[in-house]
């Protein structure tokens, strides 16, 4: 039963399995994002959509709570201009956040959105959001940052409140050239 060519064959075969699994580890990174995007798990809806004119469902009202949060290392001031708004499903609304770079240096930020309950995420549709791009602010500068969205009328009846939280990160290190260009 033992012969050298067979040993070499099994060794090489399994070495390839190991290499494939190394690749699979990296493949899990995009797969994870795709999986979250399709299912809306993790409240991860980041893509922009074409504006759709829904028939507004006036029979019910959804409360949208807006929360501004900062990563521990982010020195800016960041707040939601309204704490919460009410809307009918299908109705388009614009809301605003306000950010202020309180430091003495120019910085670039990136907001990361999250929606709770997570299963509401797939019904939230944004045509415009400050979280789609990096947001630069020069030292001491402030600005209002907007988001235009609706919640589709297909939202399950039992969801009456949707929380949208935006966490602001310091991404100066990861700034894209076109973002930096806006600073000057």
């Amino acid at each position: 039963m033992s012969s050298k060519p067979n040993v070499a064959k099994s060794a090489i075969k399994h070495l390839f399995v190991a290499l494939a699994m190394f690749g699979f580890g990296f493949a899990l990174v995009p797969l994870y994002d795709v999986f979250c995007e399709i299912t809306g798990l993790n409240g991860k809806v980041t893509g922009t959509v074409e504006k759709v004119d829904y028939t507004v469902d006036t029979s019910r009202t959804v409360t949208v709570q807006l929360l501004a949060s900062k990563n521990a290392e982010m020195p800016w001031r960041f707040m939601a201009l309204q704490e919460q708004i009410d809307l009918h499903p299908g109705e388009w609304k614009q809301i605003g956040f306000w950010a202020s770079n309180t430091t003495a240096s120019d910085m670039v930020s990136q907001a990361v959105p999250s929606i709770t309950p997570a299963r509401a995420a797939e019904y939230v549709q944004k045509t415009e959001c400050f979280c789609f791009q990096q947001q630069p602010l020069a030292a001491g500068e402030s600005k209002q940052m907007n988001m235009v969205f609706t919640i589709s009328p297909e939202l399950p009846e039992d969801i009456q409140t949707v929380s949208m939280v935006y966490t602001l990160f310091d991404s100066t290190e990861f700034a894209e050239p076109e973002t930096v260009a806006k600073l000057n």
């Binding site: 099994s10 899990l28 994870y32 990563n71 990136q110």
Partner: protein, 527 residues
């Protein structure tokens, strides 16, 4: 005339070379197995000293002995060294010694690679341990090294840690490939898959787990390396990454990893219990299928380590039920061991004592695992001492006891002498009592809410912590007795018979004791 004889001797009957180079250059599976076992024992003592530093600090509330920063380094290094340095190499060492002898092969399939996969390890752990003396200090982010603690907030020594993990991963993968190649190609004529001894079976399956998940771990640490040094953002939310992704990837490796540390233990115990019950193992084929099912399930339960990260309800339910399903094949194994003992003519030599303690205490660890698998309850238990109690019950009186049992069981075969039965039993009772005094109270302080990895604690946890610390010192120091017993057995002791134990069964017991340097040059016939 003389030259021909010498050449002939070189081919077939020569013993080990002399001097230190014997060990550096050896390709003999027995030499390499011995080196793996001694290496893992040294690591056990190293990680054990760290555990005792932790327990000494936790003997009383308040900060007595060490700085919190150093405490974190101790918990991290203790975990890494015990998992990757003590338990895993010990099993590889046992596999090196026993798998070729059990399948009737003259050596491992790839002897030179075997040498390399051992000799990488001292360098990997040397690199990891040297960080203790660096200005930044050793890694301090826990053995699970969650990002961003291990990336954005890590000490600069993290790079040494990453390369250390790469090296030990390469070593494990080569070791696993070697074992698979041996089992696939070198079995004695007549040894079909369903005639393989269970230690061989469990290692066969474990080797596949290693080949599947160690590369994922290597990928994770590579991503960390890139995040830290090359400006990528796999785990950094500021750059579009996600720290939760780290946990998914880590536990995709980490959960199969915990079965890597227990499946070979199941194999060892499945040899010892029939031997000292003088009955064949009850339910051999169900043992094989149960092991395979556990290995398969280990790939689809990883997120039960992450119930509190904010998973959606459906996901929590899936991982909760999938985890609980593992209790079924594990239960099959436990009942098979008990049924093997049922109506057997039992004797209680040291290996049997350790094996029975394994069955009982591992089951306790399994039950606390079931409690942790209940997603809603896990929100209370998560990151408390209850988790610490759980995984120490499955790893210390689980994996470690099985390794110790295996060493006592096979030591007479390895060195030709019986160990001192009285000292062996003394070692068992000290370990058994010590382990329970150490880890049982942790269940209570965990349920009461004491968080893990914290150097100080609230007053109400004081008594149980003091008890646990006393137990830890009993357990720790009784392992020095183990060292003494092993050295004493190597040097002297009653000459062992070839079968060593009255009820022993298998090819390895047909060899003389001590097992000759080269065994089964002619493959035996298995009926």
């Amino acid at each position: 005339m003389t030259t021909t004889t010498a050449a002939h001797d070189d081919h077939d009957h020569h013993g080990p070379a002399k001097g230190i180079m014997r060990w550096v250059l050896t390709t003999n599976h027995k030499d390499i197995g011995t080196m793996y076992l001694w290496f893992s024992f040294i690591m056990l003592l190293t990680g054990g000293v760290m555990a005792l530093i932790i327990r000494a600090e936790l003997f009383q509330p308040g900060m007595q002995l060490i700085e919190p920063e150093f405490f974190n380094q101790m918990t991290t290094m203790h975990g890494l060294i015990m998992v990757f340095g003590a338990i895993m190499p010990a099993f590889v060492g046992l596999a090196n010694w026993m798998v070729p002898m059990m399948v009737g092969a003259p050596d491992m399939a790839l002897p030179r690679m075997n040498n390399l996969s051992f000799w990488i390890l001292p360098f990997a752990f040397g690199m990891l341990l040297l960080t203790l003396f660096s200005e930044a200090g050793a890694p301090n982010f826990g053995w699970t090294f969650y990002a961003p603690l291990s990336t954005t907030y890590a000490p600069s020594s993290v790079t040494y840690f990453i390369f250390g993990v790469h090296l030990m991963g390469i070593s494990s993968i080569m070791g696993a490939i070697n074992i698979v190649a041996t089992i696939l190609n070198m079995r004695a004529p007549g040894m079909t898959y369903m005639k393989m001894p269970l230690f061989v079976w469990t290692w066969f399956i474990t080797a596949y787990l290693l080949i599947a998940v160690m590369p994922v771990l290597a990928g994770v640490v590579t991503m960390m390396l890139m995040d830290i040094h090359f400006g990528t953002s796999f785990f950094n939310a500021a750059g579009g990454g996600d720290p939760v992704l780290f946990q998914h990837l880590f536990w995709f490796f980490g959960h199969p990893e915990v079965y890597i540390m227990i499946l070979p233990a199941f194999g060892i115990v499945s040899h010892i219990i029939p031997t000292f019950s003088r009955k064949p193992l009850f339910g051999y084929s169900s043992m094989v299928y149960a092991t395979a099912s556990i290995a398969f399930l280990s790939f689809i339960v990883w997120a039960h380590h992450m119930f509190t990260v904010g998973l959606p309800l459906v996901t929590e339910l899936f991982f909760m039920y999938a985890t609980m399903v593992i209790a079924i094949p594990t239960g099959v194994k436990v009942f098979n061991w008990v049924s093997t003992m049922f109506q057997g003519s039992l004797t209680f030599e040291t290996p049997m004592l350790f094996a029975i303690a394994f069955v009982i205490l591992f089951t306790i660890g399994g039950f606390s695992g079931l409690m942790l698998a209940i997603a809603p309850a896990d929100f209370q238990y998560h990151d408390t001492y209850f988790v610490v109690a759980h995984f120490h019950y499955v790893l210390v009186p689980g994996a470690l006891f099985a390794i110790i049992a295996g060493v006592y069981f096979w030591l007479p075969k390895w060195c030709g002498n019986y160990y001192d039965e009285f000292l062996g039993k003394l070692h068992f009772w000290l370990s058994f009592i010590g382990v329970n005094i150490t880890f049982f109270p942790m269940h209570f302080i965990g349920l009461a809410g004491m968080p893990r990895r914290i150097p100080d604690y609230a007053l109400q946890f004081a008594d149980f912590n003091a008890v646990a610390s006393v137990g830890a010192f009993i357990f720790g120091f009784s392992q020095l007795l183990f060292l003494y017993i092993v050295i004493k057995t190597i040097r002297s002791g009653k000459q062992a018979t070839p079968e060593v134990w009255e009820g022993a069964d298998g090819l390895e017991w047909t060899l003389p004791s001590p097992a000759p340097y080269h065994s089964f040059s002619e493959p035996p016939q298995v009926k």
